[in-house]
């Protein structure tokens, strides 16, 4: 087994250079797993002759923790929960975006989300994708009528057939909705009142799992219901698993939206802004919407011209108005409430 000396030297040189100051032709992005699809990144990389390095993270707290542990200039672009843009702005992490160059005029009006993405007239982030954390299920294994009422998950009929999506924010929001508490009203007292209900849900479920484990469980029939799931789970599997479906129950559901922003400390702001513009362009939006990790509705309505009819059907393109009206945004806890929520979640996992 031999490695040629030259290739060894070359690789070592490459390694050394990688740890040096960030090269001109690179963009470092802190993203969610749907941004790692080469089909999304390569057109941009080719057009601008740049390499996009991506690192995935889950949950805003984790992302902010990564930023805390990094040095200025480490990151250029960040994907962040729409409702959490404010927190990042508070910490001075985000750079101002040139609002006039962005395609927000073409967005679905409810998804511009100016109250979240702007502060004092300055745009810090732009919505790129949205969807729902609601109930996804296998329509051949469960009674779809039951799925219109969230409380049927606690009824005992589906014990051991449920997976819980492992993200405390929307899930606690959903449990709150089931109890009639609007997400905006979730405070420490309201949270504590949800504890028993959360434990009850855990007892009725088989597992608490992340994006892929949840998809797998649903697709392989390990579970029949995924609470916290939505089109983001089922659409990507729609071709091979047409028996998977989702709905927004009577109690309502959570609407997630993700925004993309440029980091204030970025050493490559111009390129970062170009990336943001690409992502929010109709083509970028269409690719992002159908990205390999999970699907979601594009914020830019013009993407509808690029998506195929089958894709739009899987995303329920035409029913968005109804869904948007009946769903609520994620809770936005302050640091203490956030920790309390995470503690409750850990307690729930350990039941």
């Amino acid at each position: 087994m031999t490695i040629s000396k030259t290739s060894l030297v070359a690789t070592t040189a490459m390694l050394l250079s990688a740890t040096a100051v960030l090269a001109e032709g690179e963009l470092n992005a802190l993203v969610w797993c749907d941004h790692t699809d080469p089909a999304l990144l390569e057109p941009f990389e080719k057009a601008f002759d740049v390499k996009v390095n991506v690192k995935e993270y889950e949950g805003t707290a984790a992302g902010l923790a990564i930023l805390d542990q990094s040095r200025p200039g480490d990151w250029d672009v960040m994907v962040i929960d729409g409702v959490d843009v404010g927190r990042a702005v508070d910490q001075g992490l985000l750079a101002a975006l040139p609002a006039d160059e962005l395609a927000t005029a073409d967005f679905f009006p409810d998804l511009v989300m100016a109250e979240n993405n702007t502060r004092d007239g300055i745009t810090y982030a732009v919505t790129e994708k949205f969807g729902y954390n609601t109930i996804a299920y296998n329509k051949t294994k469960v009674d779809p009528a039951d799925m219109e009422d969230m409380s049927s998950l606690w009824s005992g009929k589906y014990d051991g057939r449920i997976a819980i999506y492992d993200y405390y924010l929307p899930l606690l929001g959903l449990i709150g909705l089931e109890q009639g508490v609007a997400t905006a009203d979730l405070d420490a007292t309201a949270l504590e009142a949800l504890r028993a209900r959360a434990y009850g849900l855990k007892a009725a479920s088989l597992q608490v799992s992340d994006v892929v484990a949840s998809q797998t469980a649903l697709a392989t029939g390990e579970v029949d219901i995924l609470i916290g799931g939505g089109e983001w789970v089922t659409a990507v599997l729609s071709a091979e698993s047409p028996e998977l479906d989702w709905t927004v129950p009577a109690e309502g559901a959570l609407r997630w939206s993700q925004s993309i922003a440029v980091l204030e400390d970025s050493g490559n702001k111009d390129m970062a802004v170009e990336f943001v513009k690409y992502i929010t362009s109709p083509e970028g939006q269409a690719r992002l919407a159908t990205s390999s990790c999970y699907w979601g509705m594009p914020a830019n309505s013009l993407a509808g011209g690029v998506l195929t009819d089958a894709e739009k059907a899987a995303l329920r393109w035409d029913q968005q108005g109804d869904y948007i009206a009946r769903t609520q945004l994620y809770p936005v806890p302050d640091a203490d409430l956030d920790l309390s929520m995470q503690d409750l979640w850990t307690d729930m996992l350990q039941q």
């Binding site: 390694l15 990688a18 790692t36 390095n53 995935e56 542990q69 994006v211 892929v212 071709a239």
Partner: protein, 256 residues
């Protein structure tokens, strides 16, 4: 009794090989999910994997980190074993304990410690920091193996060489090392294996340039598909090939 033995071996081997067989089988799955039913063999996942730039880079990175960190660990372990084996030093029990200690600590803790420290010192996570971590976990292994194989037999040869006027370096590389060849090779090989397959240290201490286990973990997090089976099978088959190659060339004991 005989029959019982063979039945037992059969049963255990079935258990041991079950996941591997399933893994390889479903790497040829035609449909999207690597679960039964099995749809006719297809090579498309292997094609996808081999064309995956990220995976191939991760593979090279793993190899690089493994070979280099194992070499460093071997060197450090060899010299340490030499130092402690040839003469009774004060505090040698303590030193031995210190050198072995990392073997008893969970890799997660080693990784956390290094992450914390590198953070404070301003070093970004990279393949280098991972390499440092891998040396930490492999030095005890190399030291233990080499220390255990250094015996009087070889000490006498060294003494003879020194008596005949050989310098220190000569003794080490022309007398000691050749005599310890099996142990040296075993230590190096094991270290490469441990580093190659190591996940948690690499996971916490790399950023964009990752090793193969980390890349596979990312694959698992972003889409269930037989492609994961394919890369797993590939790694397995290549490792087996190397193993058998080594077995029949290097490790073969000369017939007494």
């Amino acid at each position: 009794m005989r029959a019982l033995s063979w039945i037992y071996i059969g049963a255990i081997f079935t258990f041991i090989f079950l996941p591997v067989v399933v893994l390889v089988l479903f790497s040829f799955q035609d449909s999207r999910l690597p679960v039964p039913p099995f749809n006719g063999p297809s090579l498309k996942w292997y094609t996808q994997v081999l064309n995956d730039r990220g995976l191939m880079e991760a593979l090279t990175n793993s190899l690089l980190v493994a070979l280099v960190s194992a070499a460093v660990a071997l060197l450090l372990g060899f010299f340490a074993a030499q130092g402690l084996a040839r003469i009774r030093l004060p505090g040698s029990v303590l030193m031995r304990g210190l050198l072995i200690a990392p073997m008893t600590v969970s890799y997660l803790i080693i990784a956390l410690g290094l992450l914390s420290m590198f953070n404070d010192l301003g070093f970004r996570p990279s393949l280098w920091t991972t390499g440092v971590g891998h040396v930490v976990i492999n030095v005890p292994l190399c030291f233990a193996i080499l220390f255990a194989s250094m015996g009087d037999h070889q000490k006498n040869a060294e003494r003879a060489a020194r008596d005949l006027g050989a310098g220190e370096v000569q003794v080490l590389f022309l007398v000691t090392a050749p005599m310890l060849k099996p142990a040296l090779l075993a230590a190096y090989f094991l270290s490469v294996t441990f580093s190659w397959d190591e996940f948690i240290i690499a996971f916490l201490l790399t950023r964009f340039d990752v090793t193969l286990p980390v890349e596979i973990w990312s694959m698992l997090r972003s889409g269930l598909s037989p492609a994961t089976n394919a890369i797993g099978s590939l790694v397995f088959l290549v490792s087996i090939a190397i193993l058998f190659l080594l077995e029949f060339t290097v490790f073969r004991k000369p017939r007494a």
